[in-house]
Symmetry: C2
Subunit: 141 residues, 2 copies
DNA sequence: ATATTAGATTAGATATATTCTAATTATTCG
DNA sequence: CGAATAATTAGAATATATCTAATCTAATAT
């Protein structure tokens, strides 16, 4: 049951499972397109408007801090968010800017000479190019 | 001679080599720390204030479009820029947010099944963790 | 059960980053 | 030169995110 899964993961992270916080988490799990804070705010309030902008931002911050959500590194102004599920990489379309998940695969670590005394926590791969839709569009012209 | 190199690369891209545009390019080539637009604006105007904020942004946009500069994908509000030199990856520090270059190495392409009809133009690797300075700081406590 | 406390939410104000507008200046080309 | 095009500018406008201080809610203590 998804509801209980969300509730438990929130509480395991020391966060109360409030209606607003739950809604952000549920929205992210249902929408895999890496929505912005504004889209999440709008989506959460579409049915039953009951979360303020500040709360949406607060909860996103808390969820990221708790490790349940990640902010995707994209150039461009608005942050984009992602419920942390299975590991994956990302593909960003040059034309339409959409951010899509790509199957995860292991990436070789950098040479320790190049790494120096840095400590690597994670490593993410971002592909750029044309998404399926935009590639088709371009081909048909 | 660097000046001529910059001039030529601008003109080859169909951009006039104006004082302001040149200054943005030169600043980026001298400062490898991936400065923000605000830092570039400030840096360019430190000696002889003669570039407006709008022009700094306009030129950054034009240089990115021409492929001479790239915007680094970082989460966080301000865009960070990079003169495109030799290929490299990036390391972003969890603690201080600094963005450092890492030696480039080839990354295996995704399985074509996973790629679908997408067209990959490039692939960049972002490492996260603690930079040399922050790792030392943490160790000494 | 009531009081106390810490956690969460809210509207609106504020801050920050970027883009737009319309006027001006500089450069190119016929 | 004169027209056309490109670039720059100050400041206004927009977009995104955070802060503030008041209020509300839930958890715990008495
Ligand atoms: Mn994702
Ligand atoms: Mn770089
Ligand atoms: Zn696309
Ligand atoms: Zn650091």
């Amino acid at each position: 049951m998804k509801a209980e899964t969300i509730q438990r993961s929130l509480e395991d992270s020391g966060l109360r499972c409030t209606a607003q916080r739950y809604a952000v988490m549920a929205f992210l799990m249902e929408h895999k397109g890496h929505p912005t804070a504004a889209e999440i705010f709008e989506g959460v309030n579409r049915l039953d408007p009951r979360s303020s902008r500040a709360t949406t931002y607060n909860n996103l911050r808390d969820l990221v801090k708790a490790g349940l959500v990640s902010e995707v590194a994209v150039e461009g102004r608005a942050g984009r968010f992602d419920a942390k599920g299975t590991r994956h990489h990302h593909f960003i379309c040059d034309r339409c800017g959409s951010v899509e998940d790509m199957d995860w695969y292991n990436v070789p670590k950098p040479a320790s000479r190049s790494l120096g005394k840095r400590v690597v926590r994670e490593c993410q791969l971002i592909f750029r190019g044309l998404c399926t839709k935009c590639a088709a569009r371009r081909a048909s012209r």
